[in-house]
Subunit: 341 residues, 2 copies
Amino acid sequence: MPVTTVSLEPPYLLYLGDVADDDHAKTGHGIACWRPEQCVGQMRLPGCPVDIGLPEMSVVDAVDAGVKTAIIGVAPVGGRIPDQWVPQLIELAGAGIDIAAGMHTRLAAMPDLVAAASEGGARLTDVRVPPPGIPVGTGTPRSGKRVLTLGTDCAVGKKYTALAMHRELERRDIRATFRATGQTGIMIAGEGIPIDAVVADFVSGAAEMLSPDNDDDHWDVIEGQGSLWNPGYSGVTLGLLHGSQPDAIVVCHDASRTRILDVGGDYPIPELDEVIDDALRLARRTQPRCFCAGVSVNTSRMGDLERDTYLGELQHNLALPCVDPIATGVSPIVNFMLKYA
Amino acid sequence: MPVTTVSLEPPYLLYLGDVADDDHAKTGHGIACWRPEQCVGQMRLPGCPVDIGLPEMSVVDAVDAGVKTAIIGVAPVGGRIPDQWVPQLIELAGAGIDIAAGMHTRLAAMPDLVAAASEGGARLTDVRVPPPGIPVGTGTPRSGKRVLTLGTDCAVGKKYTALAMHRELERRDIRATFRATGQTGIMIAGEGIPIDAVVADFVSGAAEMLSPDNDDDHWDVIEGQGSLWNPGYSGVTLGLLHGSQPDAIVVCHDASRTRILDVGGDYPIPELDEVIDDALRLARRTQPRCFCAGVSVNTSRMGDLERDTYLGELQHNLALPCVDPIATGVSPIVNFMLKYA
C-alpha cells in the first residue's frame, strides 16, 4: 500500500510562530500530547498567546538541548507559512536542526530555507505530500472493520479521539491500526495519507487505499478530516467518509463551539442528533450497516459538575455513549462499538 | 479571477483511441456538439466502436485537411493516457499538429511526446491544470444568481444541460455566463477551473472563485462534476455544490442508467425524488433558498412515445419541469428557474 511515510529524529522542538489560539496550534498540542517523551521545547514569536507548556527555547537553547527536529506546530487555514516565521526557520535550519512541516506550502519550495538547510546540514521534511499512484475510488466492499471519527467542525478532537480509541483497543489486545489522514497524525504514527492534499478526484481512492482489506477481527481506526458542515472542507470529509466505508462513526464535537470557525458567513453547528442522522445517511451509501458508536466532546471549558450534567443529558437524548476523551476517556464508546459491530 | 484559460487553434481532429463506449467519449461528443464548425475529422484505433460521425482521418489526411489541433476526446476513469494511444499521438505531434488533452496525466510529462512536438513544431496543451492561488472556501454569501447542474452519476448530461440553459438564457437576452468545471467545458468555453484536478482542501474555494459576486440579475450557469451518489467522486461534487452556493439546482439523469457506472460494488441510483431531497438538504447548508428547477434526462434510448410517457409521469410525480435537453429542450426548466429565483 503506497502511503506517505515520515521519519523524524527526536528530540523535537515545537515551533509555534505567532499562532493566535490553541485551535490553530493543534499540531503542536497533538505532538506534545501523543509523543511527550520526544518533545523538549517550544519556540514562539514575541507576543504569541499559545503556550504548550514546554521550556521556551531560542535557536542557541535548542542546539544546546540537542534538538534534532523543529516541527511546525501550527495548522493555519490554507496551510501557508507566514512570512514572519521565515527568519526563525532559516536560523534553525542554518544551525543544523531538521525542520518538519505539514503545510500546503512546501518547505522545499522556499529557496532561502533550502539554502540555509543545505549550509547547516539540516533536512527539510514536508509531511503533507500524498504518495504517488493513488487511484480513483471504486466503492468495492472490503473485509475487516473500520471506524472513522467525524467532526462537527475542524479542530474538535477527531485525531485525539481516534488515537485514544486505538490505544484503548490495543490495551484490550484487540488488533487495530491507527490510520492517519492529516499532518499531525502522520508525524505521530510515522505514516498515513494527507487526505486534504490529494487531488480531489482521488480522495475516496486514497481513503480506500489507506484502510485496505483486512482480517475480519481487525479494526482500522481512521482519523477524520474537516467536517461535513464546514463550507470550506465538506468535500474532503465526504470523500474520506465514502472511501473509508466505516462500520462505525464517532462524532466529535467541541461543547463551546456553536458556530463553524474561520468562515465568512453564519454557519451554526446543527444539533447533534441531526449531525448523526445526516452523517449516517451519507455513510450508508458505501457501508449500509454503518452506525454511530458515540459522541466524543471536548468539554475542557466546563467544570466537573457542568461536564457531568452536559454529557449525562446528551447521553440520555441520543441513547449513545457520550464522553470527553480526556476527562472521562473513550472506553464507553469502544464498548458500544465492539458490542454492535 | 484566476481561472484556467485555453486557446486551441481550429480546425480540430477528435482523437478517440480505443474508447469502449459513448459515455467515456463525452469530451469528443461535447466538442463536436458545441463547436461543430471547428471539427473536421476523427481518428480512432482499429476496432474502436465509438463513432462521432466525422470523417475518419489518418495523420496524413489530417495534415492535408489543415487540422491545427488534435483534441483527445476521451475521459477515462482516473484520467490516464493508455500506452496504446501514444504512437498515434507522437505521429500527430511530429507532423506539427497541436495536441490538447484534459487528462490527469499531463501531456507535458510524456518525454517522447514532448520530443516529437518539439521536433514537429506542435504545441501540447494540458487543459486539466488548475490555476495557482486558489484559496480555501469561506462560505461567504455572494451576490448574483447561480444555477448548478447535479448528476445522478457521471456522464449523464450535466455539461450539456448547463450549456443548453446558458444558450437559452442568452437567447432571451438574460445576462448569463457559462462556468466550466471540467476539461470539455473548458475547451468549449475557453476558460474555467478543472474542479476535479484541484487539491481537495481547495475545491470549494475554487468553486467560490469561479462564480464570484455579480450583478443581481446575472446568472452563472455552473457545470456540475461527478455525483453525490458516486462513491469515487462524491467529495468533488459536494465541494463544488457548497462552493457554488446555487440559487437553483438542475438534476441530470440518464433514463437508461439504474446503477452507477465504473464502480466495484452495487450502487443503485436512488429514486429522483430522493435525489432531489438529499441534494437540496446538502445545498441549503451554504444557500438556504436553494430549490430544484427541474430534471434534465437523457432519454436517447427511448422512442418518442416512451419518452413522452416517461417524462410526463416524472413531471407529474415531482411537480417540476422534466425534459430531455436534446429532444425537448431546456426551456421549461429555464422558465421555472426564472419564475421562482
